[in-house]
Amino acid sequence: MQWKISVEENILVVRLAGELDLGSADTLRTEMDDALDSSQLRHIILNLADVTYIDSTGLGVMLGRYKKVSKYGGKMALVNPQPQVKKILELSGLTSIIEEYSDESEAFAQIG
């Protein structure tokens, strides 16, 4: 799994690619937490368009960051998950807590 973390319009934007499981969860969690802790950022956009696999470990990373930002009134958005990833998100109930958008510009418009 690869990812790029950037800050755009005061939002932490994370663009992920590949398979999100135990092999990458710890590093991703730490990098996102470091970025949040060292800034005033309150919102997160997670672009999932290039994520080809996710399981409950990956969902845990998402839910954990969501809880962290929502404590301070922040929002989180998921962008464009592939069908197999979307199915896991829905089964877990995460999509009823975290908003999902079909493209980044829509997510920016809703969150910013």
Partner: protein
């Protein structure tokens, strides 16, 4: 049911082996007529079991081994994942949706294994490790025309 093909693997309890195990099992599964969707479900179920052995059974200590045995019958594929870790004292509690002993986790591993597989069984005792056995039916077997 007659076993037509089988493999056994011993893998070290390192995080990268979650992907290795699921890719290997999915490649083996493609000897049967599973749909792409079924292969995805097999991958998630197996990853959940292997992840549990690493993070719970062995508490992330990477110097242990997990045994994976996968067999194919005409009806489908059976996967057995076994560790010698700390075991589960109360299995029915562990299987409850959202139950987890780790606050960073979702408590959905057993939920996914159960909902994606057609048969599912957990055996464990405290300090005696965990054995998960699960079976996925090939759905395309029924209703397939004779040839």
């Amino acid at each position: 049911m007659k076993i037509n093909n089988k493999f056994k693997l011993q893998i070290k309890s390192v995080p990268d082996n979650v992907a290795f195990a699921r890719v290997t099992a999915a490649a083996f599964a493609s000897q049967l007529d599973f749909t792409l969707n079924e292969l995805e479900e097999i991958k998630v179920a197996l990853s959940e079991a292997v992840t549990n052995s690493i993070v719970h059974g062995y508490e992330n200590n990477d110097n242990n081994y997990i045994e994976l045995a996968v067999s194919l019958t005409e009806a489908g594929m059976e996967m057995c994942v076994e560790d010698n870790g700390k075991g589960i004292e109360d299995i029915s509690q562990a299987m409850e949706p959202a139950y987890s002993t780790d606050p960073e986790r979702m408590g959905l591993g057993f939920v996914f294994m159960q909902s994606f597989m057609d048969n599912f069984k957990v055996e464990s005792e405290k300090n005696k490790g965990v054995k998960v056995v699960m079976f996925k039916k090939v759905s395309s077997v029924d209703g397939k025309p004779e040839h």
